[in-house]
């Protein structure tokens, strides 16, 4: 009886092989975890480290202001409740209204004409899945603002949609913000690339978000 070796005992790995296997498993697991962490880090925006530099900050905001006041940004940040349209920022034809949530009113909701993607053809309705104006209780007006007024508004959570510094940095990559660089046929692009804008935006914020004197 004692000499009988059961089948599963016959194929049991030795202790050394078992330990080596376990070690390899943990090494693999750690490598995956580290790699995964790196991937996640790539997706997240860089954590904002503030190094105050008023000169660099104001200089960066000059570029930021040019983009925000371009028709592709300003047209959806109007003074009134009707969006602007075209490279000359005229009032949107048909006078659609902002509505409480910024998505239009009644039979004139933004998404009734603005599709999830640009409509093909010259000057046809541009599209985005999240097409909207700022909401009625947080209008975030750009139109008519001086560089100083706009800079101060952008960093005030009571006026900027409750965004803290990290959220402001992330906003550069917002889908609707980026849609400004994909405006559809017949519309001019903002005055610099999205990459240049993002760099200026983060520089302005990370150097103290100083407002120009005027």
């Amino acid at each position: 009886m004692n000499n009988l070796v059961k089948p599963w005992q016959r194929f049991m790995p030795s202790r050394t092989v078992l330990i080596m296997g376990l070690l390899l498993y943990f090494v693999g697991l750690m490598a995956f975890a580290m790699n995964h962490k790196t991937e996640l880090k790539k997706e997240l925006p860089p954590h904002v480290v503030i190094r105050k530099d008023s000169v660099a900050s104001v200089k960066a905001f000059t570029a930021v202001y040019k983009v925000l006041m371009s028709p592709r940004c300003m047209n959806c940040h109007p003074q009134g409740d009707i969006p602007l349209q075209g490279d000359d920022s005229h009032l949107h034809t048909m006078f659609p209204k902002r509505g409480l949530e910024g998505k239009g009113v009644l039979a004139m909701k933004c998404a009734n004409c603005h599709q999830p993607t640009n409509t093909p053809g010259l000057n046809t309705p541009p599209g985005n899945p999240n097409w909207h104006l700022p909401p009625a209780d947080m209008k975030m007006v750009f139109q008519g603002k001086t560089p100083r007024q706009l800079a101060k508004q952008l960093v005030d959570p009571q006026l900027n949609g409750h965004k803290d510094m990290q959220k402001l940095v992330e906003h550069a990559d917002d889908g609707l913000v980026k849609a400004g660089w994909n405006p559809g046929e017949g519309r001019s692009l903002p005055p610099m690339s999205h990459a240049e804008f993002k760099k200026a935006w983060i520089t302005w914020l990370s150097t103290g978000a100083y407002a120009p004197k005027q």
Binding site: K97, L106, A107, N112, T119
Partner: protein, 157 residues
């Protein structure tokens, strides 16, 4: 094949997902009440209801309508008796009539969301529906009448 639900009837459509819903509705399904006006969402002649919203079918792709509830002028009511349709008839609103299926579809959304619309509400809701015959004053009158009819009916649209 794309599944469409138009006027509570199911259709399986074999067409390019980028085809405008207007072409699908008119040329494939054969419901010609919805009209082609401008083709670029500027006039409102092609308004249908997509999940209850007054969507311009000339710029709305077939793919957006897949599996959603679509109502055209033919499906707005059982017997052409939606309060807006009755009021339109009562006030003899149309002149040439081409834009009016779109006008009525927009008015139906307005009446659902604002059962007692003011003149300003009517202007806000109907500004995207153009009428070359200039029947705007009769449209406004008919919407006020439709609101009264709707109230009498118990608020159903």
């Amino acid at each position: 094949m794309i599944n469409l639900n138009v006027n509570h009837k199911k259709y399986r459509i074999d067409a390019d997902p980028d085809m405008p819903l207007l072409w699908v509705i008119r040329d494939i399904i054969g419901l010609t009440g919805t009209k082609y006006g401008c083709g670029v969402a500027q006039c409102g002649a092609c308004v249908i209801h997509l999940n209850g919203e007054a969507v311009r079918s000339c710029v709305t792709k077939l793919s957006r309508g897949a599996g959603q509830e679509i109502i055209t002028i033919e499906g707005l009511s059982a017997n052409n008796n939606h309060p807006a349709q009755v009021a339109w008839n009562e006030e003899s609103v149309p002149q040439c009539g081409y834009c009016h299926s779109g006008q009525i579809m927009s008015a139906a959304v307005l009446l659902r969301e604002k059962p007692n619309p003011t003149d300003q509400d009517i202007d806000d809701a109907m500004a995207g529906n153009i009428c070359r015959c200039g029947t705007y004053l009769r449209i406004r009158k008919a919407i006020h009448l439709a609101a009264e009819l709707q109230k009498k009916e118990g608020g159903t649209t």
